[in-house]
């Protein structure tokens, strides 16, 4: 099981235990996105190490990084990043597409997850037919479909009105209670408050690292 440790961004080093709920905050340009890209295996550190579980992600080649992203990580983006021409259920299936699972199994898992985020009646809608909150819930279902160790969320409530935002955050609370590790990048102090640990970055360095 995964303890996550990173040495990045000018001597920044911390580790994350499984099941933690962490918020990363900081002003623009402080290195939040870079950190998230590194944590999400979208980028490799130029120097230093990133151990995800027992694997040294910083030494992996591109294909292996893809595999890690596909099997162990779930992404949630500020602008949802759903594929517009696919339906809700197809969007949820995308990560499984690259895991070589049997098709009917994929469909089943996707339907269960859509049900879980409250979109069981919207399976065949296209993203543009849904509200922002609904789209973000599709994205959450997609992030959960491969049963990841870590869920990375980049400003997940940034584009949502407060009530939709609250719904999303409620789902996050539930996920954390079920044992998922959540890493949340946000501007919003109200969102950060919900996390049990808050890391504040400034100029590429950790300013504070507080566990509530």
């Amino acid at each position: 099981m995964g303890a996550v440790s990173v040495q990045a961004l000018r001597g920044v080093s911390f580790s994350i235990a499984p099941g933690e709920y962490i918020s990363i905050m900081g002003p623009s340009g402080c290195g939040k996105s870079t950190l998230l890209n590194l944590l999400g295996c979208l980028d490799r550190p130029t120097s230093g190490r990133y151990l995800l579980g027992d694997d040294d992600v910083s030494q992996m080649d591109d294909d292996s990084l893809s595999a890690v992203r596909g099997r162990r990580l779930g992404f949630i983006f500020q602008s949802y990043n759903l594929i517009q021409q696919l339906t809700v259920v197809e969007n949820i299936e995308v990560p499984l597409f690259y895991q070589d699972r049997p098709e009917d199994e994929c469909r089943e898992i996707a339907c269960v997850l859509a049900e879980r985020v409250g979109l069981g009646d919207r399976l065949n809608h296209k993203p543009f037919e849904l509200s922002g909150g609904q789209q973000q819930r599709v994205a959450i279902a997609r992030a959960l479909v491969n049963d990841p160790l870590v869920i990375l969320a980049d400003e997940p409530t940034g584009n949502l009105d407060s009530s939709s935002g609250k719904e999303i955050l409620k789902i996050f609370d539930e996920l954390n209670e079920q044992g998922k590790t959540l890493i949340l990048v946000t501007h919003d102090p109200n969102v950060a408050e919900r996390a049990r640990r808050a890391i504040r970055l400034r100029d590429g360095e950790i300013e504070t690292d507080v566990t509530h």
């Binding site: 030494q59 080649d61 070589d100 098709e103």
Partner: protein, 444 residues
Amino acid sequence: MSRTEPSSRPARAPFAVSFSRLKRAVRLGLKSLWLHRLRSLLTVLGIVFGVCSVIAMLAIGEGASFEAQEEIKSLGSHNILLRSVKPPEEQKVSDRGSQSSVLQYGITYTDAQRIQATIPGVKVVLPARIIREYVWNIDRRVDCDVVSTVPWYPEMRNHRVARGRFFTETDMYAEAGVCVLGAEMVPALFPLENPLGKHVRVGMDYYRVIGVMEPRGAEIKANGETADAKQAAHRMFIPLETGKARFGEVLIRQRSGSFEVEHVQLHDLTVQVASLEQVTGVAEAIKELMERTHKKKDYDIVVPLELLKRAERTKQIFNIVLGSIAAISLLVGGIGIMNIMLASVTERTREIGIRRALGARRRDIVMQFLIETVMLSGAGGIIGVMLGLIIPFIVTQAAGMKTIVTLWSPLLAFTISALVGVVFGIYPALRAARMDPVEALRHE
């Protein structure tokens, strides 16, 4: 670069892709092409027209050259054909003249004997006299070429007897009044009865029908053009000696207001050469011999083998021209496809980023775009093949031209169009795969 594969992943060959992924990629590709139906259709038009025009043109060309070659072959590749022609000066005189004139021209019996006796390699000569006459059965009449010839005619000209028999040497030297009808004459003269054993009348003479020839298509005239079909179709064969005795050598032809008298011994002389290699040499020898003995150019020599070679050369040139047109149009089509795929990659940058973030490897992205391109050009190829098969059919129906669709031309055209998809799809697909996922996700 010594990076270790994580133990959780099975080792794969560098470009191996599982079947289920391939299947899904195909479905995904179909969906995305279907989403932009009009664009896909327009993109593929270049390929469609390229493939279709190649198949159609090949079919028409093949049909035309097949007909030409059949005609030439029907003359016999071992044969050299000599025909009597009215010398040009004489023609002018007779055209102008309102008074009668006697023309003496053409191949003589002496020519035939000389060719047979002096030129080595000559196997048989086949003299023939051709007289245009009406052939009657009671009150039915057919305008016909009465051919006086020798018994070995069918064998030498690849023209077989369908019913009955051809006349024999005995018939010939007995000057027997027998004839063999061309197949096309039978329905006109004997619509309801069996012609064998019946008599037909030519002028004041009667001939017993002893055989009917097989039908055959249009023949080649001395100058290489196709004689008009009706004239060639109606032919009746009688023994040479019979013809000599009954028609004589002087032909009197009445025209409106004038009549002309022609003195022609042989209209037609076919020389069969023993082997194919000798044909050209013998043809040269005959040309020389004829030039020496005839003051005027009152004959014409056709060498079917040379015509055949020329036809084959023409066909080769035609195929090269076609090949270039095909190559150019497929190139243009391919560039069109590449252009659209590049635009599509840019347009779908974000999708690529999302897929990469969710676990797609580079080769998955390559495959996704490559499959789309190949399907696009493959579909273009299929549509092109279908159109290319329909067009020759329409041409045959509408213009009555013979067309032949060879099996390999649609196969080749389709294969090439699919290959065009691969070749012109690789660059856009690689470009899509090379994108940095972080950049791609940020793309608006």
